[in-house]
């Protein structure tokens, strides 16, 4: 049928041109791209003996994890003698075990592992340690201390605690203050720890009551949906703590859509968009509690020190410590400039 073929031809041509137009639209490069950088390396800067560091992390499917990868890579590039063997991130436990085993077989000098699931990867951590490769365990902790030489991670309980204390101080003297909590994924232990810390901090302030809590999923979409419901349920509140700045983008959208501004909002994790808003000081968000992705850079520093059998400068110990819990800093307008470079997109 000639009619059909002509139609087909037209359709094909338009599909191809639309495709060509669209592929030009996948670019996401800002005009002057600059990766999230951070301050100078903490350890001794002088080049030492060559070290190969193997790095295995989960799939960087959201801002914070992505910043982890960027921080690890850029820190490794700062040292001329460090070679970074980085695996493709995976959220699948079996796949990640395979990747770590590959790195062990390659006989890297030191391993840095951010497990998709800390407990599930304990065994492969043990295997590496037995093979004589020191493991730096990043953030999500292994079940056994034998599986790592050094653990570096954030303080989730402290994050909730510091958010609670900040809100408590801001609402001091306000009778019957109402606080709302927008939590992260409830299946994760870190969410429980953050909520526990927050609740414990609020106990110090008898004038404050936690009136509602809903769990979102670290995504913008879920943040918008859950926040919209929370605002509908609570007609008047004094403060909001949101566990994660990624879902906070959605939460801020819901707040804008509801036309509410009677409260202060405190974020978590430290996304650049949240920091920009804090600096601009034109929305409800007044602070964010940091869960710094710079810990990946610190892990690279520690791995390098381990590979070169050095201690950490600034400490008088001969060896590097077995665990390093990072402080969950509260970032407000006053200290924002110091932290802005660590914000992730």
């Amino acid at each position: 049928m000639p009619e059909t073929s002509r139609r087909g031809l037209l359709f094909g041509a338009s599909a191809i041109s639309a495709g060509a137009l669209l592929t030009a639209c996948t670019s996401n490069e800002p005009k002057n791209a600059q990766p999230a950088s951070n301050s100078q390396p903490a350890a001794d800067d002088k080049p030492g003996k060559p070290v190969t560091i193997g790095f295995a992390g989960p799939q960087a499917d959201h801002g914070w994890l992505n910043a982890i990868n960027v921080n690890a890579k850029s820190r490794a590039e700062k040292y001329s003698e460090v070679t970074l063997e980085i695996t493709e991130g995976s959220n699948d436990t079996a796949a990640q075990i395979g990747q770590v085993k590959t790195l062990i077989n390659k006989k890297v000098d030191v391993l840095v592992i951010l497990p998709a699931d800390g407990k599930a990867l304990t065994q492969v951590g043990l295997e590496a340690m037995r093979a004589g490769i020191p493991v730096v365990n990043l953030d999500r902790i292994f079940a056994s201390p034998q599986a790592y030489r050094c653990w570096v991670g954030g303080d989730n309980y402290g994050m909730g605690l510091n958010a609670g204390h900040y809100i408590g101080e801001q609402l001091k003297g306000k009778a019957n203050a109402k606080v709302v909590e927008l939590a992260g994924i409830d299946n994760l232990e870190l969410t429980k720890q953050r909520s526990q810390g927050f609740a414990d901090a609020l106990k110090n302030y008898p004038n404050i009551k936690l009136v509602a809590r809903q769990a979102a999923e670290f995504t913008v979409e879920s943040g918008q949906a859950k926040m919209a419901q929370l605002l509908q349920a609570q007609k008047q509140i004094d403060a909001l703590w949101n566990h994660d700045d990624d879902q906070g983008v959605g939460a801020l959208r819901a707040i804008q859509q509801a036309g509410r501004d009677e409260f202060i909002m405190v974020g978590g994790a430290g996304a650049k968009s949240a920091m920009d808003a804090i600096k601009a000081d034109n929305s409800v968000i007044k602070a964010t509690v940091l869960y710094p992705p710079t810990m990946a850079a610190s892990a690279i520093d520690l791995a390098r020190a381990l590979g070169q059998s050095k201690g950490v400068s600034g400490l008088s110990e001969m060896e590097i410590p077995t665990s390093l819990t990072l402080y969950s800093a509260v970032v407000t307008k006053d200290n924002i400039d110091q932290y802005l470079p660590t914000g992730f997109n």
Binding site: A15, A18, G19, L22, A24, C25, T26, S27, N28, E29, P30, Q59, A60, D61, H62, G63, L65, N66, D186, V211, A212, R213, Q214, A215, E217, F218, T219, V220, E221, S222, Q224, A225, K226, A228, Q229, L230, Q232, A233, Q234, K235, D246, V249, G250, R253, Q256, Q257, A258, G259, A271, S273, F344, N345
Partner: protein
């Protein structure tokens, strides 16, 4: 919008040719038609009953926050994005297929439409990209299934994986914030038309068009015929392959529209968008009475299914119930809704 009346109207004995999808099975006797009409009514009525019961529960437990216009706007807005996806899914399921890639297509379309390069083209660029990416993904599904001979389950599962992967590649795990004011403003109260959010109007429009297409066009009747018995449809002269291609294209189109709506709602694009939409859309369609094996289903039922889900979520959140309780209760309510429906149906037949 949720009136069951229209489907009853065209069940007169002289309008057999125009009969809706649920009338497809031939009746044994001439007097069977009114009974079948009643059957459809009972199905929709039982859904309305469930919805009314939920509204009662919401009104009693949280009278202050549940029963006001703000909450009605909220429920309808939250239902709108998944609702549009469900309309497309309903067509596909009626035809005997399944589209597991809807969530991934929404994610891909929403991130493609919010890249910095696309945003330079403003409102039109974002809307165009979202719709065309949805259509293109649907086209790939359709070609693979209709002409490549792949099982829908497998073809769309493959699309689910690839589209999510491509979405992640485009965003690089970052949240793409929209800075185009005309798009952002569409989601704010200032642009509500007579108190109705634009997203809800779009949802209503897609529902009405979907209803018309399914019940009043040859395309709709062919969809039901293909789902009821593909071989019989082929022998009756329907180009089954082309019909299937169009149906997956339609599902892709709905996902593209939904992606644009999600961009307006959330003010951003993220590769995690549309998480588990496939399950929500399938569940809503099935609660709405669409047969998973194809050949039967209604748009009104599916939309009611979506509204029931959204209302449940809303009531739980207003009562400050946590996600563990929410999930347990949601599962129980799905089972209860389907059981109630079956029971009423059996009562209506005998």
């Amino acid at each position: 919008m949720t009136q069951p009346a229209p489907s009853a109207q065209h069940n007169g004995p002289d309008k057999g040719a125009l009969a809706g999808p649920s009338d497809a099975p031939p009746s044994k006797t001439g007097g069977g038609r009114p009974a079948l009409g009643l059957r459809l009514d009972v199905r929709i009525l039982s859904l309305l009953g469930v919805l009314a019961a939920l509204i009662l529960v919401g009104g009693i437990t949280e009278p202050d926050s549940f029963l006001d216009t703000g909450n009605l706007q909220l429920i309808l807005t939250q239902a709108s994005v998944i609702g549009v996806v469900t309309v497309g899914m309903t067509f596909v399921i009626i035809s005997g297929g399944i589209d597991l890639s809807v969530g991934a297509m929404v994610a891909l379309a929403s991130v493609w439409a919010t890249t910095l390069a696309t945003q330079e083209y403003g409102f039109a660029g974002i809307a165009f990209t979202a719709v065309v990416v949805g259509l293109a993904a649907g086209l790939v599904n359709g070609v693979l299934i209709a002409y490549g001979g792949m099982v829908p389950f497998i073809a769309t599962l493959a699309m689910l994986a690839s589209a999510r992967g491509l979405a992640l590649q485009i965003t690089d795990g970052k949240t793409q914030i929209v800075t185009v004011d005309s798009v952002l403003n569409l989601g704010l109260p200032d642009s509500y038309f007579l108190g109705i959010p634009p997203l809800v109007i779009m949802f209503a429009a897609v529902t009405v068009i979907g209803w018309l297409v399914l019940n009043r066009t040859t395309f709709g009747r062919r969809t039901v015929a293909v789902g009821g018995n593909a071989e019989a449809a082929r022998l009756a002269g329907i180009d089954v392959r082309r019909q299937r291609l169009y149906l997956y294209l339609l599902s892709g189109l709905c996902c593209g529209i939904a992606a644009f709506m999600l961009i307006v709602l959330a003010g951003s694009g993220q590769n995690t968008n549309g998480n588990l939409y496939e399950l929500d859309a399938i569940a809503a369609a099935i609660i709405g009475g669409t047969l998973l094996s194809g050949g039967r289903g209604t748009i009104v039922g599916s939309v009611l299914g979506v509204l029931i889900f959204t209302t449940i979520t809303n009531i739980f959140a207003l009562n400050n119930l946590q996600s563990d309780v929410q999930q347990i209760a949601k599962g129980a309510i799905i089972v209860a809704a389907v059981l109630v429906q079956r029971r009423t149906l059996r009562g209506g037949e005998t």
